[in-house]
Point group: D3
Chain length 239, copies 6
């Protein structure tokens, strides 16, 4: 089997992580997984949702969007249509849930960090790129909060990163681009910690069901890919 | 570890599947997983979404709702608030995707089956009960289509069923009720075919990340539970 | 004239009232008028709308919905379309207004009871079945409030019930089913108290105007039907 | 009992009907019932709703609105809030239904007449003023259609008019203004034809239930009032 | 060049300003620019938007609407469509901004005046008629506030008025009606104070770009027209 | 007077225009006016709005958005709030109108070009940067259409560019950044062609009215600035 990109089956696309991409947000990262490019910002707000007021606990939430022409055909702008589509809602819930699993919300105090992931160019894997970039923006926002004295402790429990894996033409491959993703038999998104713990696994059979053996192959590829991604996050953060 | 319900760790709640629960739909099932009760209907329409017209292929879609007082506290009615919440959207996308994986859409012809899953009483596991009940309603709808001569072949590829598993107080358990689900460390929904293939695996760490060993335990419990559920579907359908 | 159902002109359909139909609501009733089946729940909230805060007075409000396949053809889900239709709004305003007329809102204190009427199967007369069932759910909710010490007095002024009457093929008939309702010349909904007082009369000429004589016949049928319905409510409540 | 306005119990407010109030609509009427002022327009469109295409039958529909400061306190603009309130929906459905009962939709051909009733000043009875004025606008629109050769026959079956009656301080009175309406024990809207047939009766107990004797008194007042209103419509139309 | 109306190039249409047009609002004006007729009301509320609370400063905001049949073809009602169109939003922002420039918001105290401009008949220039009429309604509302002791000083800094100018068939003309407006090469709206200061200039090339010479001609016409309009406002207000 | 940025009163910020910024759109430009950064894409669609079908004429439309954290404080995402704000609507109408004035819509055939301007970092002047960048994206899209044989002629009539001018601390200045814009007495946006014709002038007094002399100064500054911008567009396009 030859991947359209010529990559080996366990090879990530070229990954770049650019911090301070825009100037206003406490954390602002441009992350690229090959031709997939996402701006991830982390915004600090001294306020929490209603259900947390008075609990001393903070919150992390996320919103996701795609520029209308980030894709091959122009998509209608969700703001103009007046509602976010089901896919958008699903992705932003995943991003928020994943990043909440990376921090101790009690150490965050009654502050909220809002993650915005806006895709400016899409070529598959936008949700995994978003989570991987957002974690770096989150670290920068936490650093800013500590420098400003908003919090004293470090709420970060562990770095997290995300990658897609899938069965393409019968073979398990890592980090699918759009050419692969749109033809994959199985598509799986995996989010893990730097220690190798699972935050989320979502594996969907697009055509035929997948077997336990395939599932194990996919998780193996994902594990290795995520460790590489976390290394790149650390380099970007100079940790 | 004692489960709140006194069940053993690999024990499903009492499952009932009542066909022909209401009179208008081509398939109408009341499914109960213990105190979780869901009405699943399958409605046949001789029409397909725009993107399928002229392809000869059919479609299955799903909608999900909860009666406002299906839960302990009354939830706002989504029709009154003017939009479906993120959780609703996520669940109905999952139901539709899963059932599409059970049928050969080409054999369905240019017809659409709409699955409605409406929770009248909730006690955890509403999405897995929905999928398990909806598959029975789907079979009844397919039978009706064949009897009416709308289609000639049988589009059903295999029965599917769904169950939740999770880590509760450090132990992997099957089919969580609300008391467990709201306190679980990890929550996983598994949808499988009667042959044991995976349609969807969604596992989320609610607190600490979960390990590979825990993931394997959860999949093992799910596999056994699903085979029991499919047996109950077959009994209900007198297959 | 023969009614499609073979009933006599002053004969109600078979009426059943099942209390405690679901487990979470303070009042939960399944009411059936023949093939029309409605789940009516009454939910207590220690809060009132903004315009009543500080007045010491309570409120009763109602919401109404139909499951998409409660009808012969599947109706679009209002939550998915993003708004409640005009018919829904009209019916839920009628239900709320009628039940408010059954209670002394001052004795209710600053508490709100929300009535949800969800039609799971429709065969005409869903609004009158809803009101008749909701009044029983309301009584149960009031009893629960008194048992929990939320209120001390009894805010219920009188039982109310509702029934439809209409001119079908030139003859006044009681409790129209769908076959009659969709062809009736005049359709009237009547809500009355156990003492025979009128809460609401809504009579609409669907085709030709109706005469004063016909109006009198309709009110006579409704009066008798409502007394029977209230007797059935009392039996269900063991009053 | 003294009415706040000093009127006798069976006395209408001063009624004026001004045709051709604005210049674009096929029918345009300013109707006033005392201080209640409504602009009623009838717009002809050579098109019908989807469900009537190909049937040869026409349609009449209505929309209702209030200018934000038509009332004592400014009401939020429905266009700005993004939805029509329940009261608006209920009223416009009543107006449309009533006027459809005045015409033979088959004679209308596949044309639609849209009635717009916009309240510029409110003092009670806006829906009955709307229907009374709209019937005149409708007649003008029908005349225009006949003059333009859009239709040949006369679809008008009979003039209709509407009036409110109610129990105010224990006495049945005709044509309630806001001072009465906001304190009435019972409020009833009656729509009748020039021949005395009923199109719609809607009577609501706002406080105590009303008796059959009171209902009869209210219908008697309404009948007389409506005959006067229809006479005023005829004068305005020079019929 | 002959104007369709026969007016000279610097001639306004017939202007009327009728105060106290409706009875509830603190200021209520019917303004007509020829066949364009707008009801402008000013409503006083002892409250300000969130961002002004505690600042001691007031606010003026505006909303604009057109009755559905104010135009040659019936327009869909914005309340029914569920959103205000772009043109509406643009116009009401312009009206609000212009009137805020006429008053000292600090002298207004923490009070809000809401301007509603509702077009009952349209023939071009609805936004300029709206602003011109609204300024008179605003003065009446301010007078009412002072009489009621809500404020002590006079927040009005200067009268303002608005007029449209444009290039029609190559010639600069004043106060375009619909016949001109829909064919103009350039359309400009000018809002000025009684002292001749500019509040807003909005000039748009509909076809070919316009030159500096044309711009100067348009501003000259507008200046003269606005002084006439302000004189008419003064007469109406008996200033 | 010293400008916060130290610029002279007639000095633009540093302007950059980067073509082919993203890979999918027919035209894709990153434009920066100092710290204001906007992605402008032009998307070609072989289709026109309903009102143009069969006319042989094309259309240009525009949509505008800001990433939530493009600004100092995070703004709510319009897609999540379910509607575009008034400012957004106003700006995207201005962008669309301006670009339509740059092309001969007849030469475009029945094709639509959609301009998306998405602000990734804001520091004042986002609408003028958007128009200036969008014109370059438009030229690239037109070139692509000609290369693909979609059109044969060149619909571009002239380049256009836009700049803001304003009165800041009593002095007319060119190209206001946020520090100036948020404190300016008068704010004016000017859109002109390469030949010096006006497409649009929008000048608003934020505080005191502005005089004719000030207006003339502002137009003078804008004229010079726009010629510089058009030169930069030409360099970017290698024209």
């Amino acid at each position: 089997m030859n991947r359209p990109s010529g990559r080996s089956i366990d090879q990530l696309r070229e990954i770049t992580i650019t911090r301070n991409f825009t100037c206003h947000a406490e954390g602002s990262v441009l992350v690229t997984f090959g031709d997939t490019k996402v701006i991830c910002t982390a915004s600090v707000e001294k306020n929490v949702p209603h259900f947390l007021r008075g609990t001393g606990q903070g919150w992390i939430t996320a919103e996701y969007g795609m520029l209308p022409r980030s894709t091959g055909d122009r998509m209608g702008r969700e703001a103009a249509r007046g509602k976010q589509g089901g896919r958008t809602v699903e992705i932003q819930r995943l991003i928020g849930r994943s990043l909440r699993a990376a921090v101790d919300l009690k150490v965050l105090g009654e502050n909220q960090i809002t993650i915005d992931c806006d895709v400016i160019q899409a070529d598959g894997g936008t949700r995994t790129a978003s989570i991987t970039g957002a974690c770096v923006a989150l670290v920068d926002a936490i650093t800013a909060m500590r420098e400003q004295g908003i919090i004293t402790g470090n709420p970060l429990k562990h770095m997290i990163a995300a990658v897609s894996v899938g069965i393409y033409q019968g073979t398990a491959v890592l980090d699918l681009d759009y050419a692969e993703d749109s033809n994959a038999e199985t598509d799986m998104n995996v989010i893990m910690t730097e220690q190798g713990g699972f935050i989320e696994v979502q594996g969907t059979a697009e055509g035929e069901p997948y077997s336990r053996i395939e599932l194990d192959q996919l998780l193996g590829l994902a594990d290795a890919g995520i460790q590489t991604l976390i290394e790149k996050q650390r380099v970007a953060l100079a940790l």
